[in-house]
């Protein structure tokens, strides 16, 4: 260990290090002082199986941000989006979200993550206190559970329980009218599939008590072959079938069930059918599948909604998805809240956003509201209709009644111990 000259850090490099340190320390302040733009961070899924949905989220956000910037930005500051891929992994979503805030200096977050990723980003928002809007997670507990509640996080995605209430009451009405008593279910085998199906069945039975579930199938998520599921359902001979398969799973299921002429033998209720990602991909879309609306430009049947869908298609060459409207709504709400607070500060925006009602192409009555008590979106267009094989795919949509939805939601919250 004896050496004449210990090779430590030289004076010059010490100075350089100190200089670099000072620069790093000062950088955020300098940047903030000069800030004309406001950076908005957005972790989303841009690779892997659901990349298409992540991309459609990004597209919708950029479409709206352009409009906001053209109108002067957030309290005079232009929005600069910083969008990064989380690969759909929660630990990556958390890392990216932290990096966006801590390193890139983003002052607001749009969390366009699904499922577990949204909960991971939620913890980051809790930790850092940064303003955050969840745009894609439909899991009810994210906002309904008081344990999850933080003052700086909101959600513009539809909520699972709303879908179940509307879907259940719509199906019950048809079940009564057509005498459909024997039902089968076929949903993907993970939390979303299990929970959504259970809630749907609860509300179906509530409105039509003599309904009976005679067969349940739980294909794996991303299962390529549905033959055994289709034959199992056919053998059970139900009068109606419920499914919350989505995306590629739903389209392969329909293509394969078509071979067995399943759709002629029972009424089919597929909540995720009326989304362009499914409607445009199925080879022979059967007539008369009942579906909840995800995003279609013909419902709500207003010129604003049609114009929005067309503008999106003109810019990106494809129709928007369910995730698109949810993300667009986030930007619309931020812009409106910032106008109301006359500030681009996250805390003030959060305060102004509570209970904020804005005009929206996606609203059931032309408006949507960010409910103050639990920070989740209500009043969005939600309804069910039946398919036809060509555009507009779902010509008649029967609107869900928000008064009933809110009453039953409050009851559901109580039963879960949330309220």
């Amino acid at each position: 260990m004896k050496r004449t000259r210990t090779p430590g850090i030289s004076r010059r490099s010490t100075l350089a290090l100190m200089g670099a340190g000072a620069a790093t320390l000062a950088a955020p302040w300098v940047a903030r002082a000069q800030a004309k733009t406001i950076k908005v961070g957005m972790p989303t899924i841009l690779s892997g199986r659901v990349a298409q949905l992540g991309t459609s989220s990004r597209n919708a956000v950029m479409l709206e941000v352009e409009k906001v910037n053209a109108a002067g930005g957030l309290a005079g500051r232009q929005i600069e989006m910083v969008i990064r891929d989380s690969k759909g992994q929660p630990q990556e979503a958390a890392r990216v979200a932290r990096e966006l805030v801590n390193t890139d200096g983003c002052e607001l977050l749009i969390d366009a993550e699904a499922s577990s990723g949204a909960f991971a980003v939620h913890e980051v928002a809790r930790d850092l206190g940064v303003f955050c809007i969840h745009t894609n997670s439909e899991t009810s507990s994210l906002t309904a559970d008081p344990k999850q509640h933080i003052p700086n996080a909101f959600r513009t995605a539809r909520q699972g329980v709303h879908d179940s209430i509307v879907g259940g009451s719509y199906a019950a009405a048809i079940a009564k009218a057509k005498g459909l008593k024997k039902w089968a279910t076929c949903s993907p085998d993970y939390a979303y599939g299990r929970d959504t199906t259970a809630e749907y069945v609860t509300y179906l039975k509530r409105f039509a008590p003599d309904v009976e579930i005679i067969s349940e199938s739980w294909p794996k998520l991303f299962q390529p072959d549905y033959t055994e599921v289709v034959t199992k359902i056919l053998q059970a001979k139900p009068q109606a079938l419920y499914s919350c398969l989505w995306g590629g799973d739903l389209t392969s299921y329909i293509d394969q069930a078509n071979i067995y002429a399943l759709f002629g033998q029972m009424e089919v209720f597929a909540v995720n059918m009326a989304d362009y990602t499914a409607l445009t991909v199925v080879k022979n879309l059967p007539k008369g599948i009942h579906s909840g609306n995800r995003y279609i430009k013909t419902y709500p049947a207003t010129p604003e909604n049609a114009a929005w869908g067309d503008a999106y298609k003109a810019k990106y060459g494809e129709y928007p998805t369910n995730w698109s409207w949810e993300n667009a709504t986030a930007i619309m709400l931020i812009a409106e809240a910032s106008k109301k607070a006359n500030s681009a500060d996250g805390k003030k925006i959060a305060e102004a956003m509570k209970g904020l009602k804005i005009k929206s192409p996606f609203g059931a009555d032309g408006t949507v509201t960010m409910r103050g008590e639990d920070h989740t979106l209500i009043g969005y267009a939600i309804g069910w209709g039946t398919t036809i094989p060509q555009e507009p795919y779902v010509p008649q949509v029967q609107a869900g009644d928000w008064k009933t939805i809110l009453e039953l939601e409050a009851e559901w919250k109580k039963s879960k111990g949330y309220a």
């Binding site: 990349a51 630990q91 577990s116 913890e123 344990k147």
Partner: protein
């Protein structure tokens, strides 16, 4: 420093007790220096990004190095090592959420859970060799992953453990403070690496190398191969579990992805990247992979292509990990100087 060096020493039968002792002191000294450097980092920079990076390095580094105890030292290529990473994260998160005990107690409890599970799984797996071992470990990993997914009432299913993991202060350490969490992770990393180093350099560590090179000979010498393999399997699981706990602390949650096979895959990839013949190879691999991942995802969503090319470069170009390459280069130069 490296295993190859140490093996050379062993082959000349010169590893005296005093030599082993002085090496141990040197290891402790290096560990102390490393910890001091890491701990003083926050004074040099205010970059939270860097601190986050080191915390993640601690989690993955412990995981990958413990995997190397199996792959590199014992010749047990486990494809399911990620299950213990996930088990650590879930065990810790659940104990904290359900019982409200202090953090050190939860830590020990999680290690005990891992000990039991790893002993049971190990007892079945280590009877097998090569591809059979690899696939049975993979099967157990998928079993644990499926259990996490379907046991919704306990684990929250595919949404993960929600609501945050409480971080009550203990002994003046408050892990909800970013700086404290950082120092805590660094300490775990350094202690973990030091312990694993001691295992690798102990007589038991050399027994493992012998089993790797010729298990039949080892058993003829009188070594209980099964017991040695089971012991290292359980020890490696414990260190992986600590990695999982650090990750759970970092994200304040636990998610089924932590127990998925892709985590095991990343562990194997890190070992390929860093090299398996030197002790610090996996640590270097971890740093490399995380830097690659973080920089590439900043610029493109086609990170898969970039990472794929890097793997190809290492697998076909170098044909070994970075530290292996560096060590061989160094050894060649030294030999040339001597010769």
């Amino acid at each position: 420093m490296s295993e190859a060096q140490a093996e050379q020493g062993a082959s000349t039968l010169n590893v005296s007790r005093t030599g082993a002792k002085s090496q141990r002191y040197r290891d402790v000294l290096i560990a102390l220096i490393a910890f001091t450097v890491l701990a003083s980092l926050p004074m040099l920079t205010s970059s939270k990004f860097l601190l986050d990076f080191v915390i993640r390095c601690s989690a993955y580094g412990l995981f990958a190095t413990s995997l190397n105890l199996l792959v590199g030292y014992t010749g047990l290529t486990s494809f399911g090592h990620g299950m213990f990473f996930g088990l650590g994260a879930y065990g810790y998160g659940l104990v904290m959420q359900k019982t409200g005990v202090s953090i050190p107690v939860a830590f020990v409890a999680t290690l005990l859970i891992t000990l039991v599970v790893a002993t049971v799984i190990g007892a079945i797996c280590v009877r097998l060799k090569e591809i059979y071992f690899a696939f049975v470990t993979l099967a157990f990993q998928m079993l644990i992953h499926s259990t996490i997914l379907s046991w919704v009432s306990l684990t929250g299913g595919d949404q993960g453990l929600r609501g945050g993991i409480p971080r009550p202060a203990f002994l003046g350490i408050d892990l909800s403070n970013h700086l404290h969490l950082y120092i805590f992770s660094c300490a775990l990393l350094v202690i973990g690496l030091l312990l694993m180093r001691q295992i690798a350099q102990s007589p038991f560590g050399y027994t493992l190398r012998m089993i790797r090179d010729n298990a039949a000979r080892a058993s003829f010498v009188g070594i209980d191969v099964y017991r040695a393999k089971l012991t290292i399997f359980v020890l490696a699981a414990l260190f992986a579990s600590v990695g999982g706990m650090i990750m759970a602390l970092f994200v304040s949650g636990a998610y089924p992805e932590f127990a998925y096979w892709t985590i095991s895959g990343e562990g194997i990839f890190i070992n390929m990247l860093g090299g398996v013949t030197t002790f610090l190879g996996p640590m270097v691999g971890t740093v490399l992979l995380l830097i690659l991942n973080d920089t590439v995802t900043r610029f493109t969503e086609y990170h898969g292509i970039v990472l794929g090319i890097v793997i190809l470069f290492f697998a076909i170009g170098l044909r070994k990990g970075l530290m292996d390459f560096a060590y061989e280069w160094y050894a060649q130069r030294r030999d040339r100087e001597r010769g």
